[in-house]
């Protein structure tokens, strides 16, 4: 019976794959430690494989995506990782510079003003300025076109901060619109917000694990994104799923001792996985299941496998 629940879920995957990959901006978020970066990388890889020019962004983080794919660090420059796939680790200082230069046009002015130590302190205190330039850079690339009029990137995948920070981060355009009087900043916040809340453009993917805290947080996060931030959750990924393996009869057959306990522990986790799937499915979004992987090193091969599970049809 447990197995069939798992099978049912897998059938849904194919549908989800097509739903996910028709959005241009995919925001991957969830509790710390649930595998956001893995899932973001896998989605980006799947997107690139599908022939879409894809940019995957880390947000002021310790860069991991390039390493997961077995490539050298990209840093704050958009760097090609392989065919159709680019990565960047967006840093506030560089993003601020790019943004300021766009408005000021002159590098000398930028250097004189924005590289000034005192001014830097001041800017740090302007609410959410750091977030808005990071988000601004990412969304700028979403609007960017090539000379032939096609998008520079067909799709952008954001490996977003974890729950609370993600809500803060994506609320920033609204916070700015509410706090900051009309001006360059408010104008930018306006178009950013419009892109973020447009369900035809943007989708959030919530990553979770079959454990109590991550599930609770996913449920709260889904509500917060939908009601407060107005970003539509598009799918939920249950990472680290443990499929059922033993029946009650099997467990009875095993003599009491460590072997029995190991099998029972496996089954307990499998049960937890199923109830986690049920709780998450009750949210009403398509649920994608990624089984727990047992690979010696977590690198490219593992990402490929995860991408396979996400894209199964």
């Amino acid at each position: 019976m447990l197995i069939s629940a798992f099978e049912r879920v897998k059938v849904a995957e194919a549908a989800v794959h097509s739903v996910l990959l028709d959005k241009r901006l995919i925001i991957v978020t969830g509790k710390g430690g649930v595998g956001k970066t893995t899932i973001a990388t896998a989605i980006a890889l799947a997107s690139a494989r599908a022939g879409q020019r894809t940019l995957v962004c880390e947000v002021n983080a310790r860069e991991r995506i390039s390493g997961l794919l077995g490539r050298p660090e990209t840093g704050a420059e958009i760097t090609s990782l392989e065919e159709n796939l680019w990565a960047v680790d967006v840093k506030p200082h560089e993003a601020m510079r790019e943004y300021a230069l766009m408005i000021l046009k002159f590098e000398s002015i930028y250097n004189a003003v924005f590289e000034n130590r005192l001014v830097r302190y001041f800017l740090r205190f302007v609410p959410s300025l750091q977030e808005v330039v990071i988000l601004g850079k990412i969304l700028f690339h979403l609007k960017e076109k090539r000379p032939d009029g096609s998008w520079r990137f067909d799709r952008i995948v954001i490996d977003a901060p974890s729950t609370g920070h993600a809500i803060t981060f994506f609320s920033v355009p609204k916070v700015i619109l509410d706090t900051v009087p009309p001006g360059a900043l408010a104008n930018d916040a306006k178009w950013m917000r419009e892109l973020l809340i447009d369900p035809a453009v943007t989708a959030a993917v919530l990553v979770s694990l079959p454990e109590e805290m991550p599930i609770n947080e996913t449920i709260e996060l889904a509500a917060a994104l939908k009601d407060r931030v107005k970003i539509r959750p598009q799918a939920v990924v249950l990472n680290g799923f443990i499929p059922s393996r033993f029946t009650e009869g099997d467990l009875e057959q095993l003599p009491p001792g460590e072997l029995h306990d190991l099998a029972a522990a496996h089954q307990a986790r499998a049960k937890l996985s199923v109830s986690a799937a049920e709780r998450l499915r009750a949210l009403g979004y398509p649920l994608l299941i990624v089984p727990r992987l047992f690979t010696p090193t977590f690198g490219r091969a593992a990402i490929e496998e995860v991408a396979g599970h996400l894209g199964k049809s």
Partner: protein, 377 residues
């Protein structure tokens, strides 16, 4: 003496820090429980506890208040009569900010500050402000309350530095000439309705306003003006906070998991703490999979064929996780040397009730051990 036990004995403040999702809250609650039962009264200040942990601590309905955990509850968990009391509280960031303003701002400025749009974003949405208020609260608890030990579960920071920087950042800002330069003319003129040209009709101010909008600067200046009477207080407390973090009686416990994807973050955290000259009692490696005893493989061989295959698959997976974790542990030990590592095994279920916290404490105190597997080949 085991490093965690030593830290509990010599410290009156312990901060549990580390990457998200590794069990900081559980470790913090465990330390407070153990300390109280062993005779040093404690307060655990958590940020966002799991519902079941909050329930078992009796915190479900509570906000910012400190609540005493009933002695029979402690006794039920540990099987011994607690020799001191344990308190627990949840930190509500927005409430803490409002309290700070209500207690510290001059009467005529309070409403103006609380209603200022900059304040609202400062207290709810501004990155770094959570970290700052957590430090403020810690300082306040330390100064004003008599807890022999306070254990702080730190907020899930995106970046180690945000948290450690928080007091410095406020100090930097208040100490720096930019604020004075922007505000001094207005302060001198005693003007509340600050005009932009008072900010210095300088080239710099004009350029910034091009960026943020003129009125933004103006509003911000108003906000800072209202806050200005609190600057000295901020400065003083930021210094106190910094001193508290550096005190001999303050220890950091860095909590990490053994999995490779969290390692870099933990090591980075460790380096940052060291560079900031902060005292790290130990690196707690949480949820380590213990190795599979060799004898189990032989035992599995005696099972009927079909069941044997599935049992062996389970053994293989466990073996895999154990050797992967062992690799992580070895790497952590190497990169965090000479800070001692303390290993806590992965329990069958999430640790939420006080009895499991007590069991966890045995591993933290070195009364129970897991030997990590031989690192994967």
């Amino acid at each position: 003496m085991n490093p965690i036990e030593a830290a509990l004995k010599t410290s009156n403040v312990i901060l549990c820090v580390g990457p998200g999702g590794v069990g900081k809250t559980t470790v913090a609650a465990t330390l407070a429980l153990r300390s109280a039962v062993d005779g040093k009264g404690s307060l655990v200040c958590t940020i966002d506890p799991a519902k079941r942990l909050a329930n078992s601590l009796g915190l479900a309905e509570l906000g910012n208040a400190e609540l005493r955990i009933a002695d029979p509850v402690l006794e039920g968990a540990s099987g011994q009569k607690p020799r001191a009391s344990m308190h627990a509280m949840m930190l509500d960031m927005k409430r803490a900010w409002d309290d700070l303003i209500e207690q510290r701002a001059p009467a005529d400025k309070r409403e103006k500050i609380l209603n200022n749009r900059f304040y609202q974003s400062l207290s709810t949405a501004l990155a770094g402000s959570q970290e700052y208020i957590a430090m403020e609260k810690l300082c306040e608890l330390r100064m004003q309350r008599g807890y022999p030990l306070i254990v702080l579960d730190t907020p899930p920071t995106a970046h180690a530095l945000d948290f450690l920087d928080a007091p410095d950042r406020i100090l930097d800002f208040l100490d720096n000439d930019a604020a004075k330069w922007l505000l001094t003319p207005a302060l001198a003129a005693g003007k509340i309705g600050l005009k932009l040209f008072n900010l210095g009709s300088s080239y710099v101010a004009k350029t910034i306003s091009k960026f943020t909008g003129t009125e933004t600067l103006q509003e911000l200046a108003n906000f800072m003006l209202h806050m200005s009477s609190m600057y000295e207080g901020f400065r003083e407390r930021a210094h106190q906070t910094r001193a508290l973090l550096e005190a001999e009686t303050t220890s950091f416990v860095l909590v990490s998991g053994p999995m490779p994807e969290r390692l870099d973050e933990a090591v980075f955290f460790h380096t940052t703490l060291l560079q900031s000259h902060l005292r790290i009692a130990a690196v707690v490696v949480n949820r380590v999979h213990p190795p599979v005893p060799q004898a189990l493989w032989a035992e599995a061989k005696r099972l009927p064929d079909e069941l044997r295959k599935r049992v062996e698959a389970t053994l293989n997976e466990n073996d895999h996780l154990a050797s992967q974790d062992a690799k992580g542990v070895a790497k952590l030990a190497e990169l965090c040397a000479p800070t001692p590592l303390v290993l806590v095994p992965r329990f069958e279920m999430d640790v939420h009730d006080l009895t499991s916290l007590w069991n966890t404490s045995k591993f933290l105190f070195g009364e129970a051990h897991i030997e990590p597997a031989t690192p994967a080949r």
